[in-house]
Symmetry: C2
Subunit: 458 residues, 2 copies
């Protein structure tokens, strides 16, 4: 028996005796009775426990601290308070004590303080909501892709291949850093490492994902990724989770269809399964959150080209910090203007090729690539994708232009020779999605144990 | 339109025209017609395409190689062959060519050869079966835990905490190995690293998982884990995926209930959703596979203590290579004997504490711990778990005995002070599960891109 079951079928339990095990989240004591706000962690909602002085252990119970683990046996009764029901305790047994200096007292703690108590903050209402939404959104993603016939593929984390550039990647080694073997040239002899070569933990599963798309048609990855960026902002972490779907026989328009369909599915799933958590975030994190999410599910996403966006920005009467440019990227201020302008999510397509990655499909104008970024109100860029270059010669020449070691990833290039086809894929940063779903503005507050420059605590 | 939809609703499509995009897996040519074994990767089953010389491109079509990407339009008709239906082509269009030296010819390739062609082997029948089972089993795991109210938690991959011992962990660094900063003591100055300290990629999410179990009650992890073991066997890889559930208010018996229930759910789910793949593995990988899996779903797992197992082994008339011992581990030969003896899966409980981990609950005999390994016929140890020591003083003293730096993980220890309770968890190696589900004996053949000593190709 747990609170999830009790809340789900509460009408059936009225008048019945139940036993629950969990923790005291708040304890209000009166002379002849007391109230315990009880959570067993199985539901966001707390259960109210009422006990009276007729219990033989009444005095012992009154001494129970916030944070104690207890077992409660009692009758479920309709409540006169704001709860639907409460439990009228017949017995309350202490399972695990908690001292008075327990850091998680029932008062408002700052987010900064809670980050320092990363192992205890999951016990607070905010993080009960955030991490439950994180779990449910993860499942929604798997559910969406599996229902639609995608293969979930575990691309390797340790790799010698580099997709986004190895200067952004952590090195991995089994060597003793204080006693590195040296080769004849005085450099470290990486052949002595476990893999016999310098290896990294990956910043993307895309290249490997494409090899599976060319066999299984529609695939997705969902796993941790790593970047060494030494950037202490609210939106950067060095370890984060990413979803990277890749689809064979898929062009840029079909890619946008999939991105839109997937995002609406996830948001709707979270609204349907985390109603209480969303209401909490709506009340205490971002006013209007629920409305924003509900609106997204029923909206139609705008599709414009990069050129059209620049036209709009140039015609705007705003004073820009960064001048909009047909050859350039789009700044944060522009992103916000564009989503406001269209009043909802916007796909921006056909970007100048020089500011995008080498594996993206060059358009017939030879100036732009078939790339697409999705901008959403309030969260900026949520997904980035493209058609992949499917012409072997063009791909090789673009890769060389960008300084990619094409021989090291000849297998990737060969996908274009062995039954290649029009194909496309995108990446979605999972933490950015969770920030979008909760209204939380700091990435450190949507990751169980965030890793940022200077911080690998716990 | 794809083959998955066509196969699912084939009766509806008989007599209708469809268009499919995919690859030629085999091409048999006759004078006046031809047969193409076609796969678009969306289903394990191939689709048979028949074309006749009435097509205007007949001669061009006959030249199409194995491996080519094509688009086929034609009518779905009942087949006289072993298929239920086939497609009578009206048009076959080449989308992406494939040269005659394409390595994946329609003949039997050795597993060793296919490992070298890791990026092409997903196109073979065997790996279409294995990786589809891997994907479906992944989903079954999420489905099981989410249905039962568990929280999915992403424990960190990069960590400074060590659970299984840092000598087994890969070091992670942003420093230039050829130009390491040195401190005054001549040692590498790790404060210059991105995190300001020596960090690792983790071998287990358990310690972090427990912090979430003490807040959310029932949690699970499912992510990549890493061990530096320099061991070139069929069952070891340096990167693998692991599932680590942790449950508050759960003792050893309840832990076994969960393990048994979960395993049966996964096996049944795979049998229900991968019938064709299991049949293929049954025919070409392990005879009797299907029967073995079906038997598991309907069996009741045996529960015996380590002492009882040693009694049985000592009474056996076998000549053991390793003498069974009440203080020792159980060798492979013993595992096999025991699962044969009981004719099915066996939980072995209450192990000698000296051969088990420091965080396991010491039993009242002070000699054994409340640990449990699950042995399954054919795959050996599939899961290992335990009650976790919930007594703060005992935990600290056990950790110190085993040389654990208790101050570095004081947060883990503190879980026993702040509302601690009886709790338990287990780990299941995901690759071992896939080997069990497919009959595949080499771990390299159930991982998309396996990492083993000396091998980090692709």
């Amino acid at each position: 028996m747990d609170s999830r079951e009790l809340l789900k079928n509460k009408e059936e339990y009225i008048g019945k005796e139940v036993t629950l095990k969990g923790w005291i989240r708040n304890h209000r004591k009166q002379k002849d009775f007391g109230f315990i706000e009880f959570s067993d962690g199985m539901a966001f909602q707390h259960i109210q426990i009422v006990y009276e002085n007729k219990l033989k252990d009444f005095e012992e119970i009154q001494k129970l601290h916030n944070g104690c683990a207890i077992e409660v046996t009692g009758k479920v009764v309709r409540s006169e308070g704001k709860q639907d029901f409460e439990i009228n305790a017949d017995e309350i047994r202490l399972l695990g004590d908690c001292p008075e200096d327990y850091p998680m007292q029932p008062k408002k703690h700052s987010r900064e303080f809670l980050r320092e108590q990363a192992y205890l903050r999951p016990r607070t209402n905010l993080f009960q909501a955030v991490f439950r939404i994180r779990s449910v959104a993860s499942f929604a993603i798997h559910d969406y892709f599996q229902k639609n016939g995608y293969l979930y593929v575990h691309t390797p984390l340790i790799t010698t291949a580099d997709c986004e550039g190895s200067d952004q990647m952590f090195k991995v080694t089994t060597l003793d850093l204080n006693n590195l073997p040296k080769g004849e040239n005085g450099k470290v002899d990486m052949s002595k490492d476990l893999f016999g070569a310098l290896s990294y933990i990956t910043g993307s599963g895309q290249l490997h994902g494409e090899t599976f798309a060319l066999a299984f048609n529609k695939i997705y990855t969902f796993g941790p990724t790593f970047r060494t960026e030494n950037s202490n902002t609210k939106t950067h972490a060095n370890e984060f989770w990413m979803i990277e779907p890749e689809m064979a026989f898929c062009d840029l328009n079909e890619l946008m269809d999939i991105e839109e369909d997937m995002l609406k599915y996830i948001v709707k799933y979270v609204l349907d399964h985390c109603g209480a958590e969303i209401d909490f975030c709506n009340a205490f994190v971002e006013e209007g959150l629920r409305e924003r999410l509900e609106k997204l599910v029923n909206s139609s996403f705008t599709r414009v080209t990069h050129k059209e966006v620049i036209d709009i920005l140039k015609q705007a009467k705003e004073k820009w910090e960064f001048e909009p440019s047909y050859e350039g990227d789009i700044a944060k201020e522009h992103e916000k203007y564009i989503t406001d302008y269209f009043g909802g999510p916007v796909f921006i397509t056909n970007w100048p090729k020089d500011i995008k990655a080498w594996y993206m499909k060059t358009n017939s104008d030879n100036k732009t690539v078939a790339a697409v970024d999705l901008q959403v109100p309030g969260a900026g860029e949520l997904m980035g994708g493209s058609q992949r270059e499917d012409d072997y010669d063009v791909l090789i020449s673009r890769a060389k232009e960008m300084g990619v070691d094409t021989e090291a990833i000849d297998w990737y290039m060969n996908l274009r020779r062995f039954g290649g086809c029009v194909h496309a894929g995108f990446g979605m940063g999972f933490e950015r999605l969770i920030m979008y779903l909760t209204g939380i503005e700091n990435i450190r507050d949507v990751i169980p144990y965030p890793r940022t420059p200077g911080n690998c605590d716990y």
